[in-house]
Amino acid sequence: MISAGIDIGSRSIEIAVLENGTILETRKSDTGFDPIGQAGKLLHDLKFDSIMATGYGRTLFEIEQDAPTVTEIKAHARGALYFFPEARTVLDIGGQDSKVISMDPSGKVSRFEMNDRCAAGTGKFLEIMATALGFSIDTLGDEAMEAEKDLIINSMCTVFAESEVTSLMARGENPREIAKGLHMAVVKRAASMLRRVSAEGPVVFTGGVANNPCIARLLAREIKREIWIPDNPEMNGAVGAALIAAENCTFH
C-alpha cells in the first residue's frame, strides 16, 4: 500500500509518500499565510491509499480533508526510527519550535520536552540573525565555522539578541564571530534540553536546522555524543506520519 505523511509546520510544509517502507517521493513548500491552500497545491496529483497529518496545522487539515492526525512528537520519533533503527533520542529544531524526544527500547515515546513559546533557539532565530549580519541563511553555518575566536551571546530572545548583535557590530566585532556566538547560543539551549530528557547515547538530529553544519559540529562537541542526521532532516516528521498512516491501516 502507498501511504503519505504531511507535516504542516509553522514555516514549511513537507510531504512524504512511502510504499512498503520505501520513500517514493517527497515534496516541500513554504507554509505562507494559507497553510491549507499550500497543502492542497502540494498534494495535487499525488496518489496514495492513506494519509496522516502532523505539525501545528494538523487540526485544520483534519477538518478540511477528514484525515487522521498524530502529534509531531510521535511522528518525529517514528521517522527517526525509520532512518536509524537504533535511535533512542531525537532532537528536532524546526522553523519555530524545538523538541527533544526520548524513546524506550521498543521505540515508544517515554518522555519529551518542547519549546514552542517563542522563536528562541529555532530556525526563525537563525534566519533573523543572518539578515542582521548580512549573510544568507544557507551559508550562515559555513560563515560561522570560519570564525577565529569565540564570542559569547547572552540573549536567547530573538528580539533582544538582535539588539545584542547590533551593539556587537557597532563595537567592531567580526560578523563571522558573532555568527558563531549565535550558533553556540542555540546549541547551549538544545544541549540543556537534551540533558534533561535523555542521559546518553547517540542523538538523531532532525528539522531544517540540522542542515546547518556549524550547529551539528558544535552540538557534538558540547554534549560529547554522536549526532546522526538523516539525508533530508526536514522530512523526518512527514516520513514518520506516513509510516504511522501505513501501520494504522495494517492494524485495522
Partner: protein, 379 residues
C-alpha cells in the same frame, strides 16, 4: 438525573448570595480566606460564614497588573485584581480577610491588599517539624481567635470550636466521598463536572445544604456506577492532576485533557484532595487544629514529603494511567518541586508524566494541546 443535580447546584449557587446577605443582615459576619492553612472552623465558631476568595479568573488580572508585577503567578494577580476592582461579591461580603505567609508572592501581595480591606496574616512556618514549628503555629491560631472574637463580637468558646470541627469534618468527609466516586472504572463524572461541583459548593453559606447536596451527588454516582453508566469506557485514559489549585475560570488544562479523549479522575491539589483531611475530635481542639492544618502538604513546605505520600496513595487508589503536574507561571515552589514529582511518577510507578507551566489566559491553548496529545499518545 445527573443534569438535574447539576441544575440544583446552579440554583443553590444563585440563591447563595441572598443567603449570605440574609445571614449578614441578622448581624452575623462573613470571613474571607485565601489558603487552606487558615482553619475555617474558627470562622464557623464565631457564627460567621467562611468564604474561599482564591482568584481563578482571568478578567481582573489586567487591573492587578497596574499595581503588581506582570511576571507574577496568575492566582495572586487574579485574587488581588478581584479585590482592587471590587468585582467579587464574596470579597465584598467579607468583614475581614484571613491570609497566611505561604509563598513570597502572596505574602507581599497581602501587604498591599490590606489597604483595601483589613487582612490578618498568619505567620505560617515553612516546615512541619512539630517540635519546632507547631508551638509558633499554635500561637498564631490562638491570636486569630482573639482577632475574630473582636471583629465579630462573639466569644469563641472551646465548645463552639469543637462543634465547628465536627461540622467541618462532616463536610470534608462528604467532599472526600464525592471525590472518591471517580475511583470507579470507568468514572461516572467528568473532571470538569468535579471541578464545577467542588468549586460551587465551596461558597455555600449553609454548610448543611452543601453536605446534603454533595451526598446526594455521591449517592447518584454510586447508582450510575452500579448501572455502569459513564461518559467513558474501560479504555479511557485516567489522569491524575497534581500541583496548583484549579477552579472555574482556571480549568483550561482539565478542559483540553478531556477534549483530547482522557478523563481527569483525581486532583491532588488544594482545590481537591488536599481538602480531605480530618481534624482529631478527641484532642484539645486548638492543638488538633494546629497539628492538622500545619500538616497540609503544599509546596511552600520544605521538605514536602506529605505530597509524595498523598500522590503514591492516589496513583494506586484511582488506578491512574498518567500524571499531569500543573504549575501556574512564576509559582517557584510548585515549579521546582515538579522535579521530585516527575521522579516519583516515572521512576517509581513507570507512568507517563507531563509538567505544564501556564497562566489563566487562553493564548497558549494550542501549544498545551500538542503536549497533552503527545502525552496521551504515550499511554
Amino acid at each position: 438525573m445527573k443534569e438535574e443535580l447539576l441544575k440544583k447546584l446552579q440554583q443553590i449557587t444563585e440563591q447563595n448570595l441572598l443567603d449570605i446577605e440574609a445571614h449578614k443582615e441578622k448581624g452575623n459576619h462573613a470571613i474571607g480566606f485565601y489558603c487552606l492553612y487558615a482553619p475555617t472552623e474558627l470562622a464557623v465558631a464565631a457564627d460567621a460564614i467562611p468564604l474561599p476568595l482564591c482568584g481563578t479568573r482571568q478578567a481582573p488580572i489586567e487591573a492587578a497588573e497596574e499595581v503588581l508585577p506582570r511576571n507574577l503567578c496568575p492566582l495572586i494577580k487574579s485574587s488581588y485584581g478581584f479585590a482592587a476592582t471590587d468585582t467579587c461579591p464574596f470579597f465584598k461580603f467579607s468583614d475581614i480577610i484571613v491570609a497566611d505567609t505561604t509563598c513570597d508572592g502572596k505574602k507581599k501581595m497581602f501587604e498591599i491588599m490590606n489597604d483595601i480591606k483589613p487582612v490578618h496574616v498568619l505567620q505560617l512556618p515553612q516546615n512541619q517539624d512539630t517540635l519546632i514549628s507547631l508551638p509558633p503555629w499554635k500561637a498564631e491560631i490562638e491570636k486569630l481567635i482573639t482577632v475574630l472574637e473582636k471583629r465579630t463580637d462573639r466569644p469563641i468558646t472551646t465548645e463552639k470550636i469543637k462543634n465547628a470541627i465536627s461540622l467541618m469534618n462532616r463536610e470534608r468527609r462528604a467532599k472526600k466521598r464525592l471525590m472518591d466516586v471517580t475511583k470507579a472504572k470507568p468514572s461516572p463524572l467528568t473532571g470538569m463536572e468535579l471541578v464545577e461541583i467542588l468549586f460551587k459548593t465551596g461558597f455555600f453559606a449553609d454548610k448543611e445544604k452543601g453536605i446534603d447536596l454533595m451526598n446526594e451527588i455521591s449517592d447518584l454516582c454510586h447508582k450510575l456506577i452500579e448501572g455502569r453508566e459513564s461518559p467513558y469506557t474501560d479504555k479511557t485514559p485516567r489522569i491524575l492532576m497534581t500541583g496548583v489549585p484549579v477552579g472555574l475560570g482556571s480549568d483550561k488544562v482539565v478542559k483540553v485533557i478531556e477534549q483530547c479523549g482522557a478523563n481527569v479522575v483525581a486532583f491532588e491539589n488544594c482545590s481537591g484532595y488536599k481538602q480531605t483531611f480530618q481534624v482529631d475530635e478527641t484532642k484539645d481542639p486548638i492543638m488538633a487544629l494546629a497539628e492538622q492544618y500545619l500538616s497540609i502538604p503544599c509546596s511552600v513546605m520544605s521538605p514536602n514529603q506529605g505530597r509524595m505520600d498523598m500522590l503514591k496513595e492516589m496513583i494506586t487508589e484511582f488506578s491512574v494511567d498518567g500524571v499531569v503536574d500543573l504549575t501556574w507561571q512564576a509559582c517557584h515552589t510548585y515549579n521546582i518541586e515538579s522535579f521530585h514529582v516527575s521522579k516519583l511518577v516515572q521512576d517509581t510507578f513507570g507512568l507517563p508524566f507531563l509538567h505544564l507551566e501556564t497562566d489563566y489566559s487562553e493564548s497558549d491553548t494550542e501549544q498545551l494541546r500538542v503536549r497533552i496529545q503527545a502525552f496521551l499518545e504515550m499511554i
